[in-house]
Subunit: 289 residues, 2 copies
Amino acid sequence: MKLNKNSRILIVGLGLIGGSYAMALAKKGFNVTAISKEQSSIDYATEKGIISEGFTDVNRDVVASAEMIIFALYPHIFLQWIKEYGNYISSGTVITDVTGVKCAVIDEINSMLPKGVEFISAHPMAGREVYGVENADDRIFHDANFIIVPTRDNTPGAIEKCKELGEILGFKKISYLNPVQHDEMIAFLSQLTHCIAVSLMCANGDPNLVNYTGDSFRDLTRIANINEEMWSELFLMNKKALLYEMDCYRACFDKLYNAISVDDEDTIKDMMRLSTARRKMFNKDGKPK
Amino acid sequence: MKLNKNSRILIVGLGLIGGSYAMALAKKGFNVTAISKEQSSIDYATEKGIISEGFTDVNRDVVASAEMIIFALYPHIFLQWIKEYGNYISSGTVITDVTGVKCAVIDEINSMLPKGVEFISAHPMAGREVYGVENADDRIFHDANFIIVPTRDNTPGAIEKCKELGEILGFKKISYLNPVQHDEMIAFLSQLTHCIAVSLMCANGDPNLVNYTGDSFRDLTRIANINEEMWSELFLMNKKALLYEMDCYRACFDKLYNAISVDDEDTIKDMMRLSTARRKMFNKDGKPK
């Protein structure tokens, strides 16, 4: 079950990620069609040659003739779209997504799909702090992780097809997690980090700080520039796992706070040593960055 | 009162920062001498041409003949050094430092200095997650802030000399803060961020996380690779200001936690909007990085 360059790959949603998918696929010679609510996004993508055609309305023939459909939408819009137009999708079609939460999405999508349509969920762990197809850039995938999130309903063929997609997009590493594992992981690595950055920025409004800052503060708060529509949705759709990770983190923060307040140098140093040892595992190519 | 290229600048402590100071000064043609406890650091720096001579012992003549002395030591070692050898310093000499906390250091240093020796404190807001003169690189200053921390005891001449030093080192921006302002600022921008990164790394020990991570987690935890000797000392010497900033931050974190737990989307979005607006002020050259 190989992705066929002559058949149609349909991308629904032409933002930063949908656009970057289209760019990578087009570069490899695939025939990419897009559906986007914005005519300007379609015009831009057509002009740049990253899609062969695009539509602002949901055309039944376009949907029905796709070999693979990639949904690059906010979670609630993805759910709404399938509810409204899912029956346009032909039996035998494989659909996938880029959604940042899985438990709240996969079962509901599956319950609405027509028989013979298979949903294999995936999460490209790549992004930027800018939005829209105008900022699309498939190079964001080259150093990034692609996570495939199969359930017991998925067939080996569809999982393989999704893996092939990850390879075509140029991801550095492709991994597999089940939906629960995915949501726990994402709660810690992504959602909690965004909660931290937002809280930190909210904690101090001194406009002079920029004159004194070093790069560590900039690095830590890069993600504090955040799309509130998308992220509030992701947080609430993964509430249980996120609150759990927030609790664990806060317990460590409080431990450090208490150690500082009673001059418990041993505990402070122990935490720093543990932190240093663990952080080394995240170095890229062994380099401390 | 201009720094004289023919007179001796003495750097005490030849680690990453002391070494990078020496490198920048040598490139501009200054005559740099160093005192370091490690012969290997002196050998390296001499070989690289970033110092003209170096000593592992504290030679009274070397100290007495310096026009300016820069202390690049851990705070407690700086205090100890001045206690032991401060009387070697000649009247008329200006001394400065690179210490990351100020209130706990400046008054105590001043109380120990011989008459006629002036201490003008400074904080180069630059660093790396590596240590030692072997990693010295004066380019770390080029995009960074240099903060001069005068007290009412300082003369305009010494402040000017310190500013000149910041310019020679190649800092992008030179600012002035009093010791209390400095310590509050550093508690928020630097110490709190290190507390956050350390707590985050301590909160989860799953060795598989590296396979799924994106760059935002890497950026946020870069500083979790931390020198526990230096940082535990900095934390405890600035305890009051740091605990205050930790309190403010935790209040925001708790507010976000509570909003998520009761599905209060408005509060979540308000915090994200505030965070985004504030973070934009920290963009470099208007770029979202």
